[in-house]
């Protein structure tokens, strides 16, 4: 049976079929020559097709985000007056950082521009919804900021896609294709953030604020700097100034200014500053892993980081950090259980650091950094 089968197969492709063999050889040679001259073009076509499909997905995310932001504003404001045009205008809002040619005083200029931008977003929300409370204004301003980021991402990818297509430049297309998976990951995280911001749930970035909130629970608090509250908490016989951004609306506050304020109030008589913040995990690390270190862990444009470094250096105060590791997607989406569960371990570490590095009766600052959405004080 097997021999019969093999012989019939041989007959089909066999020696008698010389013309077929010639055709196969010529087509193979033709294909080889064509590939030599047009191989790169073919590769460019395939890469452009892949980029096009990601660009389409990016456009869908941006559009869905825009619709979500508009419908949320409509739900609260209960009017339709010119809302879409106003939101669209905001989505094209540009931010130009200060000039770096003369670096002297750049932090002050940067802080001013960042503040103006933040106020502009909040003012726009207040104009659209005059009766909105502080929490709603903050959450909606964050939502609009996320949609703006999505719009910028989409436009940037589209720009390089069209440039690459126009010039047929292999290197433009290759570079875009290389960074595209990261861009898509980031845009999906933004999409998830919109759902979370709409519901006002705590996000991964708020872990520092969550630790501070647990420490200040039941204690009196006061606003020490714009959108930052502080409580005096006795821990291990020391007086600890615990600070966080004012919640439960989405807010990062000005922790740098708050730390500077406390240090100036106490004339630098602070034994230690401990900063708690979320940090990006490396591949292989687990979300919610806790790590310690030295320095100032405050994200953002660098204004607050600069202020803390400057004032700590002025009074020679040791700086400690406790970091909670999390992935890019976890930072702005609803807080993962593993991250939320790390709070107890962080508090244990803070107690140990205070015991080991300060004396009884000392003053200590604990700063819980991050967006305090969904976390009160």
């Amino acid at each position: 049976m097997i021999s019969e089968t093999l012989s019939s197969l041989g007959q089909s492709l066999g020696q008698g079929n010389d013309i077929l063999g010639l055709i196969i050889q010529v087509s193979w040679l033709g294909f080889f020559v064509a590939y030599m001259f047009y191989g790169q073009r073919l590769q460019i076509k395939i890469m452009l097709k892949e980029i096009e499909s990601s660009l389409f997905k990016l456009q869908l995310i941006r559009d869905r985000g825009r619709i979500m932001a508009i419908s949320t504003i409509k739900e609260i404001s209960k009017t339709n007056d010119d809302l879409e045009a106003r939101v669209d205008r905001l989505l094209e809002h540009l931010y130009i950082p200060p000039v770096e040619l003369d670096p002297s005083g750049i932090i002050k200029r940067l802080e001013h521009i960042v503040d103006v931008r933040e106020f502009r977003f909040k003012d726009e929300v207040k104009l659209m919804i005059p009766h909105a409370d502080e929490t709603q204004v903050n959450n909606l301003a964050f939502m609009l900021d996320v949609v703006l980021e999505l719009n910028q991402l989409y436009k940037l990818v589209r720009h390089f896609y069209l440039s690459g297509k126009k010039t047929s430049s292999f290197y433009i297309i290759l570079q875009l294709q290389m960074i595209l998976p990261e861009i898509m990951k980031e845009s999906e995280a933004y999409a998830s953030a919109l759902t979370t911001f709409k519901a006002g749930q705590p996000i991964g970035d708020g872990i520092g604020a969550l630790v501070a909130a647990r420490l200040m629970n039941g204690k009196e608090n006061r606003e020490i700097a714009r959108d930052v509250v502080v409580s005096e908490v006795p821990i291990e016989g020391r007086t600890v100034y615990v600070l966080k951004a004012k919640g439960p609306g989405g807010n990062g506050g000005k922790p740098g200014e708050a730390i500077r304020q406390i240090l100036e109030e106490k004339e630098g008589k602070i034994a230690r500053i401990v900063i708690i913040d979320a940090a990006q995990k490396l591949e292989g690390e687990k979300p919610g892993e806790v790590m310690e270190g030295t320095g100032v862990a405050i994200g953002g444009p660098g204004v607050d980081k600069f202020k803390v470094e400057e004032v700590a250096a002025k009074y020679k105060i040791p700086l400690g950090i406790v970091l909670i590791k999390e992935g890019v997607g976890d930072v702005i989406s609803a807080m993962r259980k593993e991250i939320s569960d790390s709070v107890d371990e962080v508090i244990l570490r803070i107690r140990r650091i205070i015991r080991e590095t300060t004396k009884e009766g000392d003053l200590v600052i604990i700063a819980g950094i991050g967006n305090t959405m969904g976390i009160a004080q």
Partner: protein
């Protein structure tokens, strides 16, 4: 802003026609191969392999077209709220409700009647994230 993208997944009708034509030709070719075998008791393996291959390829392409719409990241996540008593060890986890926030005062503790508070709000990681 330009016009928003309308469809969740674009499928070219030209592509669908091509796939169906390919599928029809493969079945005809397969039928001819079987008929030849029945008549002459000789298997035409080239036609057989090519037609089965083309049927498999068309079936794969059709399955790809039937795929679920792409995930954009807006899918709602399951979020939970843990309510804890500030006096005893009572703890209760329920689904997140609009208006919940950490340190929000909640209902009285069923064990000791002390007011409870929201101690944490979290989501379970998806299977994909756990990998």
């Amino acid at each position: 802003m330009e016009e928003p993208a309308s469809a969740a997944k674009r499928i070219s009708y030209f592509f669908i026609v091509i796939v169906f034509v390919l599928l029809a030709l493969s079945f005809i070719s397969l039928y001819q191969a079987v008929e030849t075998y029945m008549k002459y008791k000789t298997a035409d393996f080239t036609t057989l392999v090519l037609s089965v291959g083309a049927i498999t390829l068309s079936a794969y392409l059709l399955m790809q077209m039937r795929k679920q719409p792409m995930k954009l990241g807006f899918e709602p996540l399951k979020v939970f709220t843990t309510v804890q008593c500030s006096n005893c060890d009572f703890k209760n986890t329920r689904e997140f409700q609009n208006g919940d926030f950490v340190l929000k005062k909640a209902e009285a503790c069923p064990k000791c009647n002390t007011p409870t508070f929201v101690s944490s709000i979290y989501r379970e990681a998806t299977e994909e994230e756990k990998k």
